[in-house]
């Protein structure tokens, strides 16, 4: 299979779906820009033009409502936010209307399949309002689906699924994944929501992660293998629906759980995953669950603080070592995947 970057996979999914279904359109601030949202909307714009890849005013709330109205009338909107932090301004229409539409109007009149892509993750000192990952906020509310693909193949397959389903979907994409390469099928084959993936097999500790943290966990696992610790990495792929079974099956085998996430611990992804285990197989846990998340402050800008703020492979290594009763410290330090990000923005 040929390889693509994560960004190319998203672009390809978009273009293929648009070619197959002319009700799909892309909308977002600057989607027609020469840089094309990290390259992901560039080809769609080149192929389908300004009639189907539309630049919009800076009006996140109205644009979400607009997309809902277009979807109600049979179109398929793909909204793009270059920063998921801006989606707080679109929360009302997405959570109070899109998520509830199908149910609130009786369940038999169809949904409003608005698909919203939000870019998350650290950049280069982007600071408190440009580094957040609000996936748990959207995933809390019944009626939406939320995905956070980690691999190029999943980025394609989940977007294809979103663009062919009837459910409003929020997809979060960590910007540091865009350059990442991987095998991606040529065809526009959907990947179902709610089905996790074992990213790496292991026996001693389970690391449940999503998006960027899957890669951090894999790198940690690689290093820990050298210490004789076998780490299983579970990539849930979607937060809602959440694949409880894959989490529980893994933890039932390993007895140890680390949850790694790029948002805060409280009421976040790490809380839900730990709760799933506590709800189904608490007796399987041979050690307390560990959560590797953001510390409880807003994101700082200054480089050393930002480095300390964001969780990464080194944190996963440390958490696993502790869970296995081994002292951390004597392993060579791992640089974060995201630490390779080149400025200047």
């Amino acid at each position: 299979m040929r390889t693509l970057t994560y960004g190319q996979a998203i672009s390809e999914a978009t273009v293929q779906c648009m070619a197959a279904d002319d009700s799909i359109f892309v909308a977002g601030e600057g989607v027609d820009d020469i840089k094309g949202t990290f390259g992901t909307t560039k080809e769609a714009y080149a192929r389908f033009g300004a009639g189907r890849v539309i630049d919009v005013p800076n009006s996140e709330n109205a644009m979400a409502g607009f997309a809902i109205g277009a979807a109600a009338a049979g179109l398929r909107p793909l909204l793009v936010h270059t920063r998921a932090d801006f989606m707080f301004l679109a929360l009302d229409p997405l959570v109070n209307l899109a998520a509830k539409w199908r149910y609130m109007y009786g369940g038999d009149k169809g949904g409003v399949p608005v698909v919203t892509r939000g870019v998350v993750g650290r950049g280069w000192g982007q600071g408190a309002t440009h580094s957040q990952s609000p996936h748990a906020t959207f995933a809390h509310y019944a009626g939406l689906h939320v995905a956070a693909p980690a691999s190029p193949a999943d980025a394609k397959g989940l977007l294809v699924r979103a663009l062919t389903g009837e459910t409003p979907v929020v997809l979060v994409e960590n910007r540091n994944l865009y350059p990442l390469t991987g095998e991606v099928p040529e065809e526009a084959t959907p990947i179902d929501f709610g089905v996790g993936r074992i990213a790496r097999r292991g026996d001693d500790v389970t690391v449940v992660a999503t998006s960027l943290m899957v890669h951090e966990a894999e790198r940690a696992a690689e290093q820990l293998a050298g210490r004789g610790i076998s780490v299983e990495v579970v990539d849930v792929r979607t937060l809602r629906p959440l694949d409880d079974r894959i989490i529980c099956e893994s933890v039932a085998r390993t007895g140890r759980l680390v949850v790694a996430d790029t948002s805060w611990a409280r009421y976040g992804f790490s809380a839900e995953v730990a709760a799933v285990v506590a709800e189904h197989i608490p007796q399987a846990l041979t050690a307390p669950v560990r959560r590797l998340t953001l510390p409880d402050s807003p994101a700082p800008v200054s480089w050393p603080l930002e480095e300390a703020f964001h969780p990464g492979a080194a944190g996963v290594v440390e958490a696993c070592l502790r869970l296995c009763g081994q002292a951390p410290g004597d392993l060579p330090a791992l640089a974060d995947v995201a630490a390779g990000f080149q400025g200047p923005y």
Binding site: S59, F66, G69, A72, Y105, G107
Partner: protein
């Protein structure tokens, strides 16, 4: 939809009788367990506008939904059933008074978060235009909703995209108990804001159903001709309390001067339309009385019918939350 003057009057009478009857049931039985915003006194806005639409046009509204729903031709029994929480309701009892819908009639939905349906109508209008054809989207909202940022965002978006959407502001001077003066500065009007956003806009006496209807025809034609969005600011007044069946003037609620309410009641849109028609049709009062009787019977039957209907099955509580998974 025919739209002769008598038809406009009749539609108003029907809505009035339906709402008055429902309000009585609501108050006396406490069986419609859904917050209900009556349009009694405001019938001319819904009727004047909706009668000007074509079946293919879509109407969205905010919480004050019954009158536009009925004026657009929404199924009466399904609405009553919705208010009574029955499975046969237009939203199968999931939505209640504030979430009416009748796709067949072109009533695309109502929602109770202020301003929420305004951009939705812009999106629908844009989708209509994209397909070609001359369908228009219409969105009703109150004066209070124009303070929500999304109203301004939607005007701008509609203007930039030249979407065939008619914004219908029912300016009844109040947002719950807050008078306009507490919420918007004196001087510029809602019409002015629309124009400053690039949307063609007019102010019309919202209790004059013929004036509203004429303005709506102009607005819809403007949209169908590719002229872009249009706003109607319609001055009107609600006679009852904000939510619920009661009258609240002179009952110690005190937010509306009794004289003000009485003056507006004197400007009853139904009485005014009848007055206007009386010259041409001296028998109009008799006709109106007959309509009243027919409508009373219609709503009486609907209520009686609906009360025999079953509630939704509790086992089906989760149905419709998500797209059904094919088995």
């Amino acid at each position: 939809m025919t739209s002769g003057p008598a038809r406009l009057l009749r539609d108003m009478v029907r809505i009035r009788v339906v709402e008055e009857t429902l309000a009585d049931h609501y108050r006396d039985e406490q069986e419609m367990r859904t917050p209900t915003h009556f349009s009694i006194g405001q019938e001319a806005t819904a009727v004047g506008v909706c009668a000007a639409t074509r079946p293919g046009d879509w109407v969205y509204t905010a919480h004050r939904s019954h009158a536009p729903y009925l004026a657009k031709g929404g199924d009466l029994t399904a609405m009553v059933a919705e208010l009574y929480g029955r499975q046969s309701g237009c939203a199968h009892g999931r939505g209640g008074s504030i979430h009416l819908v009748d796709r067949t009639a072109g009533f695309a939905g109502s929602a109770a978060i202020l301003g929420e349906m305004i951009p939705v109508a812009v999106g629908t209008a844009w989708a209509f235009a994209r397909r070609g054809g001359t369908r228009v989207a219409v969105t009703f909202f109150g004066d209070g909703a124009t303070e929500e940022g999304v109203f301004a965002e939607s005007l701008n978006l509609a203007a930039v995209r030249r979407a065939p959407v008619v914004f219908v502001c029912e300016n009844n001077l109040y947002s719950i108990s807050s008078p306009l003066a507490a919420r918007q500065p004196a001087g510029p009007t809602i019409r002015d804001r629309a124009e400053a956003a690039g949307v063609t806009a007019v102010q019309v006496d919202g209790n004059d159903v013929f004036a509203v209807h004429d303005a709506a025809l102009t607005a819809l034609r403007h949209c169908r001709d590719g002229g872009g969005p249009y706003l109607l600011e319609l001055a009107t007044y609600r006679w009852r309390e904000h939510v619920g069946p009661g009258h609240d003037h002179g009952h110690g609620q005190g937010y509306r001067p009794v004289e003000e309410t009485e003056a507006w009641i004197a400007r009853c849109p139904i009485a005014r339309a009848a007055d206007a028609l009386r010259d041409r049709d001296p028998g109009i009062d008799r006709t109106v009385a007959d309509w009243r009787e027919q409508c009373r019977e219609e709503i009486r039957d609907a209520v009686a019918h609906v009360r025999q209907q079953p509630f939704p099955d509790v086992e089906a509580l989760l149905d419709g939350a998500y797209q059904p998974v094919p088995r």
